[in-house]
Amino acid sequence: MNKLMADQQTIYNHAKEWLLTDTPASAFQAAAGRAYLGLLEFLKNRLAVLGLLIIIALVFIALFAPYIAPFDPILTNLSQRLQPFSAEHIFGTDEVGRDIFSRVVWGSRLTLYIIGLVAIIAAPVGIIVGTVSGYFGGFVDTVLMRITDIFLAFPKLILALAFVAALGPGIENAIIAIAITSWPPYARIARGETITIRNSDFIRAIKLQGAGAIRIISRHVMPLCLSSLIVRVTLDMAGIIITAAGLGFLGLGAQPPSPEWGAMTSSGRAYILDHWWLITMPGMAIFVVSLAFNLLGDGLREVLDPKSDD
């Protein structure tokens, strides 16, 4: 038994040595070693780990919502309306007798759906505009950055509101509106990174080997922009959740009876005087999830983007 543990210890030591060597034998080994060091630094930041755990829990809850939620999130039950906390309804019930806990659980799906789609739309648009603009410079850069500035000239929520007003309320339109207002900062970041690496020797070397602009940008420039972009997108997730909830609250995002957290807060407004749990619970969910993304984003920034202090 002791021998087995000793063996494990040796394997562990070997692995550690392999990861932390000063003379990596392959690109893979170097990357693995860097990732390991980053992981160690990330794990030191307790709050960031907490944020990550909350997000993992959110994904888990969203995946298994039908098994976790004890009640149907849509089905009304007027005999059970406005019940306070109890063993049966741990978050109480709302104005038409739906179990608030079940609705919050199902709402996690909508939240993930919104932030996932916004990230999938906005991040690639931003990175493409930014890298192209930074790589080519000159006229292309001027035009693309002017367009970016125009979008930045609006406060995010106001522009999103105007888009939703034109497109009509609904969760898909809210996602489109938020995505349209989210990409400009990503373009700015990607452009900044691209400009710093555009004239480096390795890019010149690839150019001499005959690589075209598309290949250079997609294979060599974009990957180097990724880390700062990931940090920014993670930090933005909190803002996206809050904006989406704000749209839902104003009645322009997800429509009732869907259990979107912002819309739930809005419909609980009328009962604020005597039934405080109606607004408190969904709002708490928004707060906890956006806090988690902020904590994770701060932690990632320390690991991936050491240039920025605190």
């Binding site: 106001i158 939703v164 912002g262 604020i272 806090l291």
Partner: protein, 346 residues
């Protein structure tokens, strides 16, 4: 020779200013282009939105021509441009008044709220930021970190509802929604539109105090978010300044510590801080949409949401243009400030 040089420099500066103005003009045009596209192109059929789907073909065609929709798109944009630049945003369906007039009427309420919120942000945020920079890792540093984190994570509409629930409904410490109590409503004739100023002008001190009382909760809530931003930025500016060698020199020379902090270091943060305050003021316009809805505050934010819910497109786009222009103006203002006062940015 020197004359030639100054002339050259003058020419260069003039060219730079010209370029700057051109950029501003292009951005502003782009802003109008976006609102134009939102209003004219995105909805499936703007004519249908006006005449309804039961209208006959004849009525439909007449409305289409009356709205200028038979013209090519670029001509429509030029017409739109000239009317917007004259301050004509069309008529609001909801109030049946010109949108521009409506906005002028509701705007002071928003300004009053945003102004007080900014004051809160400055007078709490700056000292908090400075102290946390000076005593890094100290108690107040942790407080400011938590304040910042909460500011970025709390949905303002939720916080506002909780505050109403606790301070108005449960404790009855602060008044509820509205600018003044119901029985004071409409007593003071609006002159400036600012309730605090109008009530003083009318000599109605009771109303002044009541209005101030009503401002406490929404202004503090809005101010909290700008306070979080201002304190965080102050902290990082101060940390950067305190690292500089001139601070060390001052300390070695025996300058009093408070003078080193507030005179030397803080003095050098003043200009970037003014831009931060300006930008946070712009962000307040955004936050006011949700806050005003909750506090039934008759400002631009409430006007915008009411128009949204009633599909009053002229009013929505008019408000969007106004807010966008103010936002743009603030950005330009802080840009200029930087260039004029900070020689490094030239």
């Amino acid at each position: 020779m020197t004359q030639f040089l100054t002339q050259k420099r003058l020419k260069k500066t003039a060219l730079k200013i010209l370029k700057f103005l051109l950029m501003v003009a292009i951005t502003f045009l782009g802003l109008l282009l976006i609102t134009f596209l939102i209003g004219r192109v995105v909805p499936i059929d703007p004519v249908l939105a006006v005449v309804g789907d039961k209208a006959s073909h004849e009525v439909y065609e007449r409305a289409r021509i009356a709205m200028g929709l038979n013209l090519p798109l670029w001509q429509q944009f030029l017409i739109y441009l000239s009317s917007v630049l004259r301050g004509d945003f069309g008529t609001s369906v909801l109030t049946a008044k010109p949108v521009f007039e409506d906005i002028l009427r509701v705007f002071p309420a928003t300004m009053e709220l945003a102004f007080l919120a900014t004051l809160f942000g400055i007078f709490v945020g700056i000292p908090l930021g400075v102290i946390s920079a000076v005593k890094r890792g100290g108690f107040l540093d942790h407080v400011s970190r938590v304040v910042g984190l909460l500011g970025y994570s709390l949905p303002i509409f939720w916080l506002a509802l909780l505050a109403l629930m606790i301070f108005y409904a449960k404790l009855d410490l602060l008044p509820g929604p509205g600018r003044v109590d119901v029985f004071y409503d409409g007593i003071v004739t609006p002159v400036t539109g600012f309730m605090l100023i109008d009530s003083i002008l009318a000599g109605e001190w009771e109303i002044f105090w009541n209005a101030l009382y009503h401002l406490i909760m929404p202004a503090t809530l809005l101010g909290y978010f700008s306070m979080a931003y201002i304190s965080r930025m102050t902290r990082s500016f101060m940390i950067e300044q305190l690292r500089q060698e001139y601070i060390l020199t001052a300390r070695v020379k025996g300058v009093a510590e408070w003078k080193v902090i507030w005179g030397h270091a803080f003095g050098n943060c003043a200009i970037p801080l003014i831009t931060v305050v300006a930008l946070s003021f712009g962000a307040l316009l955004e936050g006011s949409v949700l806050t005003e809805t909750i506090f039934a505050w008759p400002g631009l934010g409430l006007y915008l949401t009411n128009s949204l819910l009633n599909a009053d497109m002229n009013a929505v786009l008019g408000s969007t243009i106004v807010v966008g222009s103010i936002f743009l103006g603030i950005n330009i203002f802080s840009d200029i400030l930087y260039k004029v006062f900070d020689p490094r940015a030239r």
